[in-house]
Amino acid sequence: MSKFLPPESFAATGAYDLLPFNFTRLEGDSYLATNMVGESLIVDRSTLDDLVNKRLAPSHPSYTDARAKHLIAEKGDKASAELLALKTRTRYQRLQNFTNLHMFVTTLRCDHSCQYCQVSRQSEDKGAFDMTLEMADKSLDMVFRSPSKAVKIEFQGGEPLLNFDLIRYIVSKAKVRAAAEGRDLEIVIATTLSLATTEILEYCRDNHILLSVSLDGPSDLHNKNRPRPGKDSYQRFVANLQAAREIVGYDRVSALMTTTLASLPRVREIVDEYVGLGFEGIFLRALSPYGFAVKTRVYAAYDTEQWLKFYKDGLQYIIELNQAGIPFREYYTTLILQKMFTCADPGFVDLMNPAGIGIAAVVFNYDGSVYASDESRMLAEMKDQTFRLGSVLENTYEEIFLNEKLLSTLEESFTLSAPMCSECAFEPFCGADPVFSHAVYGDVVGRKPASDFCKRNMAIFRHLIQLMREDREVEALFRRWSALC
């Protein structure tokens, strides 16, 4: 007699338990079902019905899938729950790294006067709009209270290069402290590059500083969005981008784009501009609804539908570019795909749950006040101080980070408990954005059915899934995007 048993001996028995999962209707009769860690399955309505009512036969093709994706467990599959717990833990690992992005607003002064800008000041008055040494020291003390092993400091403005002396001061102090405490330090400067000099760039090279620069599209569009004396924002950008790449390093410079009403019909040109300047991807961002953007009605100038059209058209073009042999990525899509295909959370503030505020990022403003996120300080510029956590001059670390408002916001907006999100199949890919909800709807949870945040994300999730279902090649491309980080 053979020692080996035939395959039937190991076949599924058909006696199973349900594991926690959500489902959402895609189009027609198809449903997306996902478990807590984003493993997913597409089934039709009757299969779903059978699955939930435990009538699904082991011979049904979806049975094996559902078991493999941990939507069900056969009696005796003891590892499933443990595996899910492990993956859930990975998903929320970021929590252990409590605040690792620290933004320093070194000045509000700026040489630009962008129409959508929420904060900048056209002023020579350094006293009024620059961070002082004392504030910088106190802010650094807070930074190094963070338990995170990796510390990231990002300089924001205004135009941070206008207060470069303070940047040098902070960088040198931060480096000494990071080295002494054995922490990894990453430094970023967000700048338009218009004021970059060889000296500044060499400093960035020598101190391993990354540059996050702004490019809105072709020359006329960029200059229209970003007026400055001389009307030469684009020309300066192109020249200084090359200098920055040659001195600081090609891969040390990344670009961010802001979508305005004028951008909407021009997404292909914008993408072309990025390709032409040698970028390997673009972030098609929606303009945030804060600050002057709301005040000046630039935000209201386009709605979610219009933005979605812009995004979908852009993504389509990017897919075509890839098919034409030009590798190029869309970063928002990539972040979502990473959440869809891997259990790691890329840690992008808008797609985080619990919400990124105060956890992922904290802002030290030019006047010493501390905000829970970049958006929170923009809100404050509009006289809404809801997410002001305190001041480095007056408050202790505990007072700031154990702030009642911060903790309750995080808790209330947690998607695993928010109405609708808690039963949404897209939840593992989505995030909570309480500041957005607060700014637009007046409460941190946001009524999802009416929320633009939900509408935008849900439309994107549906779109991406549809693209992949329609075209295997697109799915392969998307998998490649998610694998590259």
């Binding site: 338990d17 349900l18 209707r25 807590m36 939930v52 443990e82 717990a85 039963e423």
Partner: protein
């Protein structure tokens, strides 16, 4: 204002299930309930912008079915869900 009444069988669907389904339609209609022994009557008052009433109602009925299934999953998996979360967060000290 446009008003419609639709009914569900209380033996098959709980009021909570119907309420949950209705939440998703906040931006389309407001809802009132008349719970009777043999039926739960829902009085839907539609917002002006909604033109395809029948389409929305049909969608809503599907949503109620979906909510019914969700309730089943939730009930069956509640304990294991807690187990998983407890396990996952056991060392982070945040939950």
């Amino acid at each position: 204002m446009l008003e419609r009444v639709i009914s569900f069988d209380p033996a098959a669907y709980s009021l909570e299930t119907i309420q949950r389904a209705a939440y998703r339609y906040i931006d389309k209609f407001s809802i009132g309930f008349n719970v009777k022994e043999a039926s739960i009557d829902c009085i839907l008052q539609f917002d002006k912008e909604v033109d395809d009433l029948d389409g929305v109602i049909q969608d809503f009925r599907k949503e109620v079915l979906d909510q019914h299934l969700r309730a089943r999953i939730a009930k069956e998996t509640e304990s294991i869900r807690h187990l998983i979360l407890a396990h996952a967060f056991s060392r982070t000290g945040l939950v």
